[in-house]
């Protein structure tokens, strides 16, 4: 059933964290309605949290018993690229509303392509700009998804183009 008998770096800690979270969830679930009735609002959450806790605990015990596999946490589990991208994503989410979709995405794409693709600024900026234009056309104009405008007066620009097209058609 359990084929891997070695544990990856950090795996046991992860299992223990999951068990701890499950225990907190169980306690919280008990707080909803206690053992009032089988049909009480808290009974299902309690049962589920109990399953989580028991299974997480058993996973943790199994993992602790397993022999540790080689490799460090940084290279085996969270390589620098993954950590960098996760951090960039967080910055992207924070800046999305105040700055707006277009500038944030352009900066995000350029930096990440520069880092991952190992290309110079101009090339990365070019790729980002082209892909962003395509994404903007598909999602904003065709799919009509609303995205935060931020500092770019998108509506005015779109209206300008529409007027231009309307003017050209006349």
């Amino acid at each position: 059933m359990n084929r891997d008998h070695t544990r990856k770096p950090g795996e046991a800690i992860f299992a223990l964290i999951l068990a701890a979270i499950s225990l907190v969830a169980l306690w919280q679930a008990y707080g909803i309605s206690g053992f009032e009735a089988l049909s009480a609002p808290g009974s299902f959450p309690m049962a589920v949290a109990a399953i989580m806790f028991v299974s997480a605990l058993m996973i943790a015990i199994k993992t602790l018993r397993a022999a540790p596999a080689g490799g460090g946490f940084i290279y085996g589990v969270v390589p620098p690229f993954a950590a960098l991208m996760a951090f960039l994503l967080l910055l992207y989410a924070v800046a999305l509303v105040p700055l707006g979709f277009l500038p944030t995405s352009l900066i995000f794409l350029t930096i990440s392509i520069m880092a991952l693709h190992k290309r110079g600024f101009v090339r990365a900026f070019g790729i980002s700009l082209v892909s962003l234009v395509v994404i903007y056309i598909v999602f904003r104009l065709v799919f009509t998804v609303l995205m935060p405008e931020g500092i770019v007066p998108e509506r005015e620009i779109l209206a300008f183009f529409r007027n231009l097209m309307a003017g050209g058609a006349e």
């Binding site: 059933m1 891997d4 919280q28 299902f44 991208m85 392509i113 190992k118 994404i135 999602f139």
Partner: protein, 505 residues
């Protein structure tokens, strides 16, 4: 019948037709790029369709699903990397074929056979779903409860290596699904006094986080691997080849439909079982299995596409997803105000026929796009991941934001992305989590209905289960699946094996 005419709506409405085509096309290519799964495509793209009407949104989803299941076979054949879990079995014989320089034939055969499988799956869906939903009207709450538990157990135990991890993931999903105001009593559950949590954790946030962000971050671990180039020759298979494999494909399609229709099992398991079946029934294969047998390609490819139609049966008639993708589609239907379940067939039979029509159309587009456009295909698959991944991450954020125009969802999504990343790295499956989130309300409500109708007595509930044939079968199935996954069962099996060996002279 009026509702039946809705079958043709996606065919005659040009906008809808185009959306099915775009969806199928996108599905094929996303499914074909290693690391980009069909689940990822569906979860990110669906979030952009919530402001749409139901019909166009459904057309796009159905297309992506159908195309994605097929698309995974491409990279399985060309690179020995299954683009989707449902194509794992395809790689076993598909890749050896490509190594022998028969990549074109292999792709052509798998495309045609996927079409045959898809067709049979849709046919069964059209015939069986109305009957199943009529039958499902007789289901008691306890039957729904058992069925949902069964589905969750199946996903948890079959998709991962460890039952414990599967159980944990399923339970985690169920717990996430309970956050918010209790639907029956409006009591707060796990809200920690935060008003934003009253409506619950956005299902989209969980889904995009786990299937979009987590998956993309995982892919970053091997961002530098470059795809191998392959020359592709003849692609359209000969009529003789199709005729030769037709009997087998009919058998494996039936396997696909049945496995797909079981709640909790989808195309990946169907494909593996079909492969196994082909191995058993093909007495004298021209080429041995695993070395490039055409039968080993036909079986999984028919089965996984047949499973698509099959998976829609429990989804539409019972509201119970067959796999992660159907779980996402159910979630999307909820958001569009539809309630998959036996009442859907009664209240909105047009919706059912519309979906069936769109599936049929997607199957045809799959055949067309599959047999053409090989040049573009190789270009797209060669697109560097270093460019694709940042774009996927960006779309994940925008998608999570777009649903409610709220940053809370985005932060939740990122949180689930990081959690999903570690879960994947440490061998926890995220499929059961998403199934759990979708099934949580159904299980909770039906549990409470069942136990209330039995006067809060577990004894009476068990008596009810024991005296109803349907409930009893479901209950025994749950017990059996659970038991066969435990170490006790492994021990019993080992003992039995040792005995039979000792018994032999």
């Amino acid at each position: 019948m009026d509702a039946l005419s809705y079958f043709f709506i996606p065919w005659i409405n040009l906008d809808l037709l185009a959306l099915v085509a775009i969806g199928t096309f996108a599905g094929i290519y996303v499914g074909a790029i290693p690391g980009l799964s069909v689940t990822m495509a569906v979860s990110i793209l669906i979030s952009f369709t919530f402001s749409w009407e139901v019909y166009p949104a459904l057309c796009l989803m159905v297309g992506i699903y159908m195309g994605g299941v097929y698309g995974g076979s491409r990279t399985a054949i060309l690179l020995n990397i299954p683009g989707a879990p449902s194509a794992i079995a395809t790689a076993l014989d598909g890749y050896p074929l490509a190594q022998q320089g028969k990549a074109g034939e292999a792709i052509g055969l798998s495309t045609t056979m996927s079409f045959v499988g898809g067709l049979i799956g849709i046919g069964v869906l059209a015939v069986a779903a109305p009957a199943v939903s009529e039958f499902a009207l007789k289901f008691q709450p306890r039957d729904y409860l058992l069925l949902a538990v069964l589905g969750l157990l199946l996903v948890g135990s079959l998709s991962g290596e460890s039952l414990l991890k599967g159980l944990f993931c399923g339970a985690l999903g169920l717990l996430i699904g309970t956050v918010g105001l209790d639907p029956l009593t409006a009591q707060e559950r796990f809200t920690f006094g935060v008003v934003e949590l009253w409506g619950g954790v956005s299902f989209i946030a969980v889904m995009i986080g786990m299937f979009g962000v987590a998956e993309a971050l995982i892919q970053l671990r091997h961002v530098d691997t470059t795809p191998v180039k392959q020359k592709i020759s003849r692609i359209v298979p000969t009529w003789g080849a199709i005729r030769k494999h037709l009997p087998l494909s009919l058998q494996t399609s039936s396997i696909g439909v049945i496995i797909g229709a079981l709640p909790g099992t989808g195309g990946d398991i169907a494909a593996l079982m079909a492969y196994d079946h082909a191995k058993r029934v093909t007495k004298n294969p021209k080429v041995p299995f695993g070395k490039g047998a055409e039968e080993g390609l036909v079986a999984p490819e028919t089965a996984n596409n047949a499973a698509v139609g099959g998976a829609f049966i429990p989804m539409i008639t019972l509201g119970i997803p067959g796999d992660a993708v159907t779980a996402i589609i159910i979630g999307a239907l909820f958001i569009h105000g539809l309630n998959p379940g036996p009442m859907l067939m009664i209240d909105k039979p047009d919706m059912f026929w519309f979906i069936t029509g769109a599936l049929f159309l997607a199957n045809i587009f799959m055949l067309i796009f599959g047999l053409t456009g090989i040049r573009i295909f190789t270009k797209i698959v060669e697109a560097p991941r270093a460019v694709l991944i940042p774009m996927i991450l960006m779309l994940s954020i925008v998608g999570a934001y777009a649903v409610n125009n709220s940053l809370t969802d985005v932060y939740f999504m990122l949180g689930f992305g990081v959690l999903g990343y570690f879960m994947k790295v440490y061998g926890y499956q995220v499929g059961p989590v998403i199934l759990g989130v979708i099934l949580s309300r159904l299980i909770d409500e039906n549990w409470r209905r069942a136990i209330i109708s039995d006067q809060e007595s577990l004894g009476l509930l068990m008596k009810g289960i024991a005296t109803s044939p349907l409930s009893l079968v479901l209950f025994l199935a749950v017990l059996m699946i659970f038991f066969t996954q435990t170490p006790f069962w492994a021990r019993i099996k080992a003992k039995a094996k040792a005995k039979s060996k000792a018994g032999k002279p």
